[in-house]
Symmetry: C2
Subunit: 196 residues, 2 copies
């Protein structure tokens, strides 16, 4: 499926492999839609994307072109090589039944990105407990410096915006079209991706 645009339907997820040197392009086809991204070392899925290592080395919570995404073993998993948005989140875990109960008690429950990632990654032996903080493409979570307060605002991404990441090792990737109302400006759109 290299070079072909794949679609992730609204409120769903996908799992696939990405070989060292390949690029993954994550596209927001309609705008204002988040895609949660996870990455695992394909040779040993106990090695996984780490927000804490990445933010420590980057010395910023706003990651964009040129930044590297590190694993819990301090190895580079992915490098951001293009980014037309410049606003992503790497603080929060994927939405889940529990987060829906907390934030949207009056809405129907949804398993969210957490449930979608768990199902998409199960073929590689990845279980729910192995899902850490995701790199949330296009998610807009500003932090107020003096108070530390964070807000989940609608993404600033417009139709066709994208982020391109190059794999530094063979990876298993989990990717979603996010299911949480506040994260996506109140509506649920698809996500497109392409491997090159």
């Amino acid at each position: 499926m290299t070079g072909t645009v794949q679609e992730i339907a609204p409120r769903s997820g996908a799992g696939f492999t990405l070989s060292a040197g390949q690029t993954l392009t994550v596209i927001d086809p309609r705008g204002v839609q988040v895609a949660d991204l996870l990455a695992y070392n394909a040779a040993d899925v106990r090695e996984v994307l780490s927000s804490g290592r990445t933010l420590d080395y980057a010395e910023t919570i706003q990651l964009t072109t040129g930044h590297k995404l590190y694993s819990n073993r301090s190895n580079v998993l992915l490098e951001i090589v293009e980014d037309t948005v410049g606003r992503h989140d790497f603080l929060l875990t994927p939405c889940s039944y529990a987060t829906f109960d907390h934030f949207y008690p009056d809405l129907p429950r949804h398993r969210g990105c957490f449930g979608n990632l768990a199902e998409a990654l199960a073929p590689w032996g990845i279980t729910e407990d192995m899902i850490p903080v995701a790199f949330n493409c296009f998610m807009n979570v500003p932090v107020d410096g003096p108070t530390g307060r964070l807000e989940v605002l609608p993404p600033v991404s417009k139709a066709g915006d994208r982020i391109v990441l190059r794999a530094a090792m063979d990876l298993v990737i989990g990717l979603t079209a996010c299911s949480a109302p506040a994260s996506n400006g109140g509506s649920f759109k698809p996500i497109h991706y392409r491997i090159d």
Copy 2:
């Protein structure tokens, strides 16, 4: 050892259990010293402290009295019931050989809080790959809102300052006296703790 102050020597760590309802008091006896804290469900150590769940529910990166620390399964592990400092970090992973290589290439390598936690937690079957972002007591990591840039500054804690956390379930705790120069104002001091 309930009610007795225990000392963690500079640049080392400790592992112990904390029963539901007990409180853990973490004390900075000399001031300007960080203590990395981890917590696991004692009945199933695959359930562990989660920065991403906690920050999502708290809607702030500045956690203090009244805030709850959640697990990767969205259960409350600990509640902060007293805090004389009000400035702690929950963004960064424990310092390690790799972080020393990155930030202090001219200093002797040190296994850091990561190595100290791994050794201290090994008796409960907790391995290096199971160490997530720690709750870093007294660590001072301001984030600049507009740019997202973060800095590691000396703690604002003074001699005798403390944070008190109450366990919401039976826990395995890992706790360190942090080993990284920048995090501790350039010198390495002990940490005291007490279980009540």
